[in-house]
Every structure is written in structure tokens, then in C-alpha cells.
């Protein structure tokens, strides 16, 4: 033991001497020169600072431009409170709806092999590539007074467009794929063996899902819910088309921001905006933390 530690000490001495002798300009063939590296990092960080960070900072700077008092005053407006409450209500309905769908779709797609699976996945991705304005428009075409079901709805006394149901439907459409998208790749990767083991041990189908499947995907599920929620609360285009901008009635937070901005109430607009920006930051923070902590549990390469 003591012999070998002496040998180690000697060899370390040798190598430090050798390192001192070798010129530092040598680098591995798969590495760039230090100045190139520094230049690239500076460029990338500069670009991110200019294009991503600066707009973010602007939100908070503008919100507090006239001090904390003006910031708080923005929330004394009953219209602002109504907008916040409506937004929460929309999220409370839209997110669980998409959660149930996401789990159901992920179970069918990831755990079973059936014909037309690839096509079904493509259909689920569809809302990602549809403009939010078009998403709003399609509901108007269906349910507005001049729409396909308009006459029928009118005679039944049901109001969908320019009312809460329309806002919720448009939000559900836009945030539709998020949870399924997080779950499908992960559940496919995990395979069926855990569930099969639970069944052989006599678990019922529901119990198996609750005790085996869910714990395996909980972090991906949490992230999907967070993302879905952030999008649901922040959706603008689709909701704008179906809402009719009725203050205190069909105004969500993003729509309220638009109205305030167009009325040149900049501080109030940015104050409400800063709430949504903070929500976005929290979502990103939790995502980053989850990825760091449970690197293997979240499928890499999210696409939104």
C-alpha cells in the first residue's frame, strides 16, 4: 500500500513536470481554439441577450416604470380582476380536459400497436401547425349566428361565440397536443413490461395504471400540465377571434393587455403582462429543474 502510493506520487511529479514543458497551444482535434470558442460563446450569448432576454426584461421594466404604486394600481381596476378570474376559469376547465385526453391518447398510442397509428399521431400534432387565428375562425364558422350550427343554437338559446364556451373551446384546441406530446415518447420508451408484471401479480387495470404507469411518467406529466397551463392562460389569437372583447365578461388577461395597450395605459398593460411573464418564467424554471434532476425521465427534444 505504502509502496504504491509512493509510486503514484512519483508519477504525478513526473507528469506535472511534463505538462509544464508542453506548450499550451496544443489542443484536441475535435476542439476549437480557445479564442474561437470564446468568440462563439460571446456571439451566442449576445444573440440570446438581445433577442430573448431584452424583451423579457422590458416587460418588467415597463411594468415598474412609474413605481410599485402604479403597478399595484393596475390590479385595482375591476376589469383586470375580471380578466384574471376568467383566465383562471378557462385554465381550470381546459387543462383537465386535455389532461384526460393526453393520458388516454398516450395509453392507446404508446401501449398498443394498431393500424393508422402514425396517422393518428400526425392528427394530434395538427393544432401545432394551425394558426391560432384560424383555430378561432373554425369555431366561428361552426357556432356563430351565421355559422353552420348558428341557427340551431340560436333557437335553442345557446351562446357559444362571444361567450365563455367559445373561449374554452378555442383554448382547448390550441393547447390540445401538449400533454399527449410529452407522454407518448416517454411511455413508448418505457415499454409494457412493468404493466405486464403488475397484471401477473393480480392488479386490476385501474390499479395497475395508478400504481405502475403513473409513477413512471409523473414528471413528464407534470411538465406537460405546466406547459399546457401556461399556454392556456396566455392564448391570444384564437381567443381574440371568438371572444368579442366584452369587458368584464369575455376578456381574458391577454385580451385585457391588448385593450390597455391600445388605450395607451402602458404601465397597466405591462403590469398584467408581467404576471403572465412570471408564470412563463416559473414554468421554464420548473422545466429546467426537472430536466436537471430527472434527466432520464423526460424525453429529450421537446417540440412545441
Amino acid at each position: 500500500m505504502s509502496d504504491s502510493s509512493v509510486a503514484l506520487a512519483v508519477s504525478l511529479e513526473e507528469t506535472t513536470a511534463a505538462v509544464a514543458a508542453s506548450p499550451s497551444r496544443r489542443r484536441l482535434p475535435t476542439e476549437e481554439a480557445p479564442w474561437v470558442r470564446r468568440l462563439l460563446i460571446t456571439l451566442a450569448v449576445g444573440f440570446l441577450g438581445l433577442f430573448l432576454l431584452l424583451p423579457l426584461v422590458t416587460v418588467f421594466m415597463e411594468a415598474f416604470r412609474k413605481g410599485a404604486g402604479a403597478f399595484i394600481h393596475a390590479f385595482a381596476d375591476p376589469a383586470a380582476v375580471d380578466a384574471i378570474l376568467l383566465t383562471l376559469m378557462v385554465a381550470v376547465i381546459a387543462v383537465p380536459a386535455n389532461l384526460v385526453f393526453g393520458i388516454s391518447a398516450a395509453w392507446a398510442i404508446a401501449k398498443f400497436d394498431f393500424r393508422g397509428k402514425a396517422f393518428l399521431v400526425t392528427l394530434i400534432d395538427l393544432p401545432f401547425s394551425v394558426s391560432p387565428v384560424v383555430a378561432g375562425l373554425v369555431y366561428v364558422l361552426l357556432y356563430a349566428n351565421h355559422g353552420i350550427f348558428g341557427g340551431w343554437l340560436q333557437s335553442a338559446g345557446i351562446q357559444i361565440i362571444f361567450a365563455l364556451p367559445g373561449i374554452i373551446m378555442a383554448t382547448v384546441f390550441v393547447t390540445f397536443p401538449f400533454i399527449a406530446r410529452e407522454l407518448i415518447p416517454l411511455m413508448e420508451e418505457l415499454g409494457n413490461t412493468d404493466e405486464e408484471a403488475a397484471l401477473t401479480l393480480g392488479a386490476s387495470g385501474f390499479r395497475m395504471f395508478w400504481t405502475v404507469t403513473l409513477p413512471n411518467v409523473k414528471w413528464a406529466l407534470l411538465y406537460g400540465v405546466l406547459l399546457c397551463n401556461a399556454r392556456a392562460m396566455g392564448e391570444f389569437g384564437a381567443v381574440s377571434v371568438v371572444s368579442g372583447h366584452i369587458r368584464g365578461y369575455t376578456n381574458t388577461m391577454p385580451l385585457h393587455i391588448e385593450i390597455l395597450y391600445n388605450e395607451y395605459q402602458f404601465v397597466a398593460a405591462f403590469a398584467v403582462a408581467s404576471l403572465l411573464a412570471a408564470l412563463a418564467l416559473v414554468t421554464l424554471g420548473i422545466k429546467s429543474w426537472l430536466e436537471h434532476r430527472y434527466a432520464g425521465d423526460l424525453a429529450a427534444g421537446h417540440r412545441h
Partner: protein, 280 residues
């Protein structure tokens, strides 16, 4: 079981019938039926009327602005997205995790918030706008503003599609190129970039498709001057407010067609990459 046996591979796991029926029902109600309504409205207009509506001068210039600025923004994001993905994957530096997390900001930040923030930044009195004014450059309320907003929106698509592929690139490929005498730049251009190219194309297509449909981030900074800085999605909103459902449908159908074509293109790129190079 026998009913759907030819459709689904038999499995001991329960719940297929329940979940697939629910999935398809929900999908139909939320997505397929509404999109079908749009196609129904568009087809009832007839090809002739669609073309007439789409070729209206104001519509045409809005579509042109949307497509040109979206293409330009996605193209602009390719080199910078690549650079950022490269730096995040290959180098370690203080704040790397922070910058990695912040890439998703345009995904998470509500578009209206981004829209007013970008406008405040690039307006003539804003931080950047005031600097640009010194050089006689007007950004907000011009197509340049639209372009910059779309750069903001599209950046994560390039970074997030390239990043995982770049992380998987086998270092041995670069070593092999070096042993064969290729310099560093040559190695990156001839060995790394070709491996990344399907991801770059996919990211470009995603960024482009998103930019064409983008509304909230753009309308504040665009200024919405007809024939100059009016984008196609805004035109749909305007036509709807005028109860011109036919006009709105025509523009929407056109944009939808482009979205689907882009989606198809992405699938083709990925299928081609798979068959050509084995599984990349």
C-alpha cells in the same frame, strides 16, 4: 376482442377500446370537426371565388408579407440557431444552464406579452428603436418589425430540433475526418453539418409554419398598415369583424394548405433521412 383483432395487435394490457374510442371522439370534436367546417365552407365557395378572394390586392400583399418575412426570419434563425445549439451542446461556460432554459421563452411567454414587449423595445422611443433611429432606421410599424418578431418566435424551433441531434453526433466521426487530414472547419462542414441537415430543415419548416400563422407577437409591432405591414392572420380577423366569412375562409384555407404542405414536407424529410442513413 374479435371485433377489432385485425385492427390492433393483441395485448394483455386492458383499456385499449376505451382509450382509443375516447381519443378519436375527442380529436373529432375538438379538431377534426372544426377544421372540417372550414374545408366545407371553403369548398362551398368554389375554386373560382377562392382565387378571386385570395387575389384581391390587399389580401395578396398581406399573404406576400407573411410568407416573405416568415421565410426570411426562419432562414435568419438557421445560422444563429445552429450557433446557439453548438455552444450549448459543445461548450461549458458560466450560465450555460440558464441560457439553455431561456431558449424556450418564446414557447412559454404569451404572444401578446411578447408583442407589446417587442414593440416597446423597437418603437422609436424604445431602447433599440432609439438607437436605430439615429441611423435613420425605422423598425416598429414596418416589415422589419414583423421580421424581428418572427425571429423571436422561431428561434426555439431551430435550437430545439438541432440540439438533441448534435448531442448524439459521434465524436469518432470528427476524429476520423481529422485523421484523414481534414481541418476543423472542413470537418464541421463535411461531417457534422450533413448529419444535422435533416434536423435543420425540420426546424426551419417548423419555424416557418409557426411564423406564417403567428398573430399576437406580430400585430403590435407591425402597425398593421394595409399593403405595407398587414399580415395574413390579421386580415382574417379584420374580415371576421366585417362579417366577411367568405373572405376570412379563403385566406384561412390558403394558410391551412401551406401548413399541411409544410407538415408533409417535414415528414418526408425525416422519412428520407431514416431510409438513407439508417436510423440517424
Amino acid at each position: 376482442m374479435t371485433l377489432y383483432a385485425p385492427f390492433v395487435k393483441p395485448s394483455v394490457l386492458p383499456g385499449f377500446r376505451l382509450t382509443i374510442i375516447f381519443t378519436i371522439l375527442y380529436l373529432t370534436m375538438i379538431v377534426l370537426l372544426p377544421l372540417g367546417a372550414l374545408l366545407f365552407r371553403a369548398s362551398s365557395l368554389g375554386v373560382h371565388e377562392l382565387v378571386v378572394l385570395a387575389l384581391d390586392g390587399r389580401t395578396l400583399s398581406a399573404l406576400r408579407l407573411s410568407f416573405v418575412t416568415s421565410f426570411a426570419a426562419a432562414a435568419f434563425n438557421v445560422p444563429f440557431g445552429l450557433l446557439i445549439a453548438w455552444v450549448l451542446v459543445r461548450y461549458d461556460f458560466p450560465g450555460r444552464r440558464f441560457f439553455d432554459a431561456i431558449i424556450d421563452l418564446p414557447f412559454a411567454l404569451p404572444t401578446a406579452v411578447a408583442g407589446i414587449a417587442l414593440t416597446a423595445l423597437y418603437a422609436p422611443k424604445g431602447w433599440i428603436g432609439s438607437i436605430a433611429t439615429i441611423f435613420g432606421l425605422k423598425i416598429a410599424y414596418t416589415p422589419i418589425g414583423v421580421f424581428l418578431a418572427l425571429v423571436f418566435v422561431g428561434l426555439p424551433f431551430i435550437v430545439r430540433t438541432v440540439q438533441p441531434v448534435l448531442a448524439e453526433v459521434d465524436r469518432e466521426l470528427e476524429e476520423a475526418a481529422a485523421t484523414l487530414g481534414a481541418g476543423r472547419l472542413r470537418t464541421i462542414a463535411s461531417v457534422v453539418l450533413p448529419v444535422l441537415s435533416p434536423a435543420i430543415l425540420t426546424g426551419f419548416a417548423l419555424a416557418f409554419a409557426r411564423a406564417v400563422g403567428e398573430y399576437g407577437s406580430v400585430i403590435f409591432i407591425a402597425g398593421n398598415i394595409p399593403y405595407v405591414s398587414e399580415i395574413a392572420p390579421l386580415l382574417i380577423v379584420i374580415k371576421l369583424e366585417e362579417f366577411d366569412y367568405a373572405g376570412a375562409t379563403a385566406v384561412a384555407a390558403f394558410m391551412l394548405a401551406v401548413s399541411f404542405a409544410t407538415l408533409l414536407l417535414i415528414n418526408l424529410i425525416q422519412a428520407r433521412a431514416r431510409t438513407r442513413y439508417g436510423h440517424v
